[in-house]
Subunit: 123 residues, 2 copies
């Protein structure tokens, strides 16, 4: 069995292209993936019918919209979105976060649109 | 379905008792748990035969001992320990981290000793 390597999270972010929305896989744990996400703008309403997902905000501020309220999540805070719950992340200033969820979860959940990424790459 | 609440990670750490080793659950995603861990000292050699586990170091420095090498993991870095791989965390100065793994994983893996915690509590 191989001894694993450590991962420097800031170094991974530094390799992202200069775009408002980037998502890349940086690690795998069992059948779960740890992803880095950089986002600025307004995402699309969607839900994930089969899984919860964990957002750990590292920098900046996310306004997580739900149908009944908006929760502001800033660097050092996290939120777990329960499966089936509609949500829409938005951010004027932008944020960086870790996203943890099972492998193969579509980034736009139960919807398909201009934000949909066919295959999320490793970085 | 309930809209979730956000979790402030530093606030959770601030509630820990003044002990060298504390571990508490702060969130659940599917059948996985997100735990906060504060540790200073030398842990015990152990492995988890059935699961990988993810260590995300927030503060301080961990020396993760493997049978063939030692990896220094500091704030802003992470490491995934593959299932079955023997490891022993140690730290002179101490560290704070997030630990992500399936619910019910024993903290001392395949061993039982003075570090073993029967039931990890929520905070």
């Amino acid at each position: 069995m191989m001894t694993p390597s450590k991962i420097n999270i800031a170094e991974k972010f530094s390799k992202l292209p200069d775009e408002d929305y980037c998502v890349r896989i940086i690690a795998k744990m069992n059948n779960y993936e740890v992803k880095i996400v950089k986002f600025k703008g307004e995402f699309v309403w969607h839900s994930h019918p089969d899984t919860d997902e964990t957002f750990i905000i590292l920098k900046g501020k996310m306004l997580m919209h739900f149908r009944d309220k908006i929760i502001e999540v800033t660097g050092g805070e996290m939120i777990v979105i329960p499966k089936g719950v509609e949500h829409k992340p938005a951010s004027e200033q932008g944020y960086e976060m870790l996203l943890i969820e099972p492998e193969g979860v579509p980034n736009t959940g139960n919807t398909e649109n201009e934000r949909t990424i066919e295959k999320i790459e490793w970085i």
